[in-house]
């Protein structure tokens, strides 16, 4: 291991906590999910009502299911089906995407989202 190697390793390890601090928030049971299809179409869906959603993408229709305050991909025209394998999304920030069909889903937070509430 050379000196340069050691430096690179230190830099790498130092960068990791920064990333966690920046992008990770406490998981909280979310209230609604945000679905993005392509670049421009944004849909907000309450997780309080059980239902199924058909979202159109370039490859076809992806089907999402909302049940018991959770959401997941049920079917999708992609090959890898990674989106389906992501399983149920429940907590704030939980995320799944069907990359080939340009569809992504993220769970948005509840009160923790806000610094203060005007009653």
């Amino acid at each position: 291991m050379t000196r340069a190697d050691f430096l690179v390793a230190m830099l790498a390890l130092g960068m990791l906590p920064l990333l966690y601090n920046r992008y990770w928030e406490e998981p909280v049971e979310g209230e609604d999910a945000e679905i993005m299809a392509g670049d421009d179409k944004k849909l907000k869906v309450s997780l309080n009502t059980n239902r199924r959603l058909n979202i159109e993408g370039p490859l076809g229709t992806s089907v999402l299911e909302v049940q018991d305050s959770r959401i997941r991909f049920v079917s999708s025209p992609c090959r890898g089906k990674q989106c389906i394998h992501s399983g149920w999304l429940q907590n704030t920030g939980d995320f799944a995407a069907c990359l080939p069909n340009h569809i992504s889903v993220t769970v948005r937070g509840n009160n923790r989202h806000y610094d203060a509430i005007n009653f």
């Binding site: 000196r3 340069a4 050691f6 430096l7 230190m10 830099l11 390890l13 130092g14 960068m15 990791l16 906590p17 920064l18 601090n21 920046r22 209230e31 609604d32 907000k44 869906v45 309450s46 009160n111 989202h113 806000y114 610094d115 203060a116 509430i117 005007n118 009653f119």
Partner: protein, 348 residues
């Protein structure tokens, strides 16, 4: 070469150290009871002990103002009420004079929809006590005779040191103003202690300065009917976000709901409006504007807001229709799905 590596190593260690420090530990949140309500104070970017001392100072500021201006607990204000009702002239210090002068200015600007001189009317309805009134609603005749006496801030004769009233029916109730005033004072206390990023939130009365680290403060606005948030707003710089809702204080009698924001024109709780949210710099003005606009309702809100110099208004009526100024529409982000019906109205 050695030096280069050593410097680089030091940089790495510093990076690791800062990376491992928790960003959220710069946030300090405290809660206290003042003005008969819960007050949340959030500060960002200062050490915990600085924040704690600042919160203690804010608490004592709030208590002092509450004790001075309380509408029904024995206070300086109730003393002033008694003396003024007897026709006497009272001597007041500069702070109190400033308080009255501002209230008079705002009452005038609101077209008297904000009228803090109708304390007797408020007492008639039973809202001059800590507990919820039981009802029944007051006798219409009592209301009519009080209205006929027309207590108003115009009845006050004020100088730089004295105050007198030409109308014995005047009694003060500064709900809808005193809290805003207090929040302005409290924010000055925080600033004086070097705190540049903070929120002071007394329920629906909030003032925010600075930011939450690398993002703005995010304020959620309660839905007037359902639990949960109807909309959110991100503050910028130094501003106040005040919401007056008819759901805050009310009583039910014989199946009818009577709330605490009394329309000074007819003596009854204001109709048609569920809530009003105002964004403005100083809290005292935002407080009175929010109250006045609840009374103004969907008919008069634009005119009243224009008179008071308010450009960012959101009014929600009892059909859950949202009225907004264009400036407000740019800032409001609806958090409900589907979003409500919105009517944009300008106040120029």
């Amino acid at each position: 070469m050695q030096k280069l590596y050593h410097t680089a190593l030091c940089v790495c260690i510093v990076l690791i150290a800062t990376g491992c420090s928790d960003n959220e530990s710069k946030l300090h949140q405290a809660r206290l009871v003042a003005f008969g309500t819960l007050v949340d104070i959030s500060t960002w970017g200062v050490d915990d002990d600085v924040a704690e001392q600042a919160v203690a100072a804010v608490e004592s500021t709030f208590n002092k103002i509450d004790h001075t201006w309380h509408a029904w607990h024995p206070s300086d204000l109730t003393q002033i009420d008694t003396q003024l009702a007897k026709g006497e002239q009272v001597e007041l210090d500069a702070d109190k004079i400033a308080f009255f002068k501002k209230a008079m200015r705002l009452a005038d600007a609101s077209g008297e929809l904000f009228n803090p001189a109708i304390g007797k009317l408020i007492a008639l309805w039973g809202f001059n006590q800590d507990d919820r009134p039981q009802g029944p609603p007051p006798d219409p005749a009592a209301i009519t005779s009080l209205l006929a006496l027309h207590p108003s801030m115009d009845d006050l004769i004020i100088t730089d040191t004295t105050l007198k009233s030409s109308n014995p029916a005047v009694r003060f109730d500064f709900g809808g103003y005193a809290k805003g005033y207090a929040i302005d004072q409290a924010m000055a206390v925080l600033r004086a202690r070097g705190i540049d990023n903070a929120i002071i939130n007394a329920g629906g009365d909030l003032r925010a300065i600075g930011v939450h680290g690398d993002r703005p403060w995010r304020i959620g606005i309660r839905h007037p009917r359902n639990p949960g948030i109807i909309a959110s707003v991100e503050t910028s710089g130094d501003e106040s976000v005040f919401t007056s809702g008819t759901y805050e204080r009310f009583f039910e009698y014989d199946g009818v709901t009577y709330h605490h924001i009394i329309d000074p024109r007819d003596g009854y709780p204001a109709k048609h409006t569920l809530s009003v949210t105002i964004i403005y710099d100083d809290a005292a003005t935002a407080d009175t504007a929010a109250t006045a606009l609840v009374v103004a309702g969907p008919e008069l809100w634009q005119k009243t807001a224009a008179q008071m110099g308010i450009t960012q208004v959101m009014l929600i009526d009892d059909q859950l229709t949202v009225y907004m100024t264009p400036a407000m529409a740019k800032r409001i982000h609806f958090e409900i799905d589907p979003p409500p019906k919105v009517i944009i109205g300008d106040v120029s």
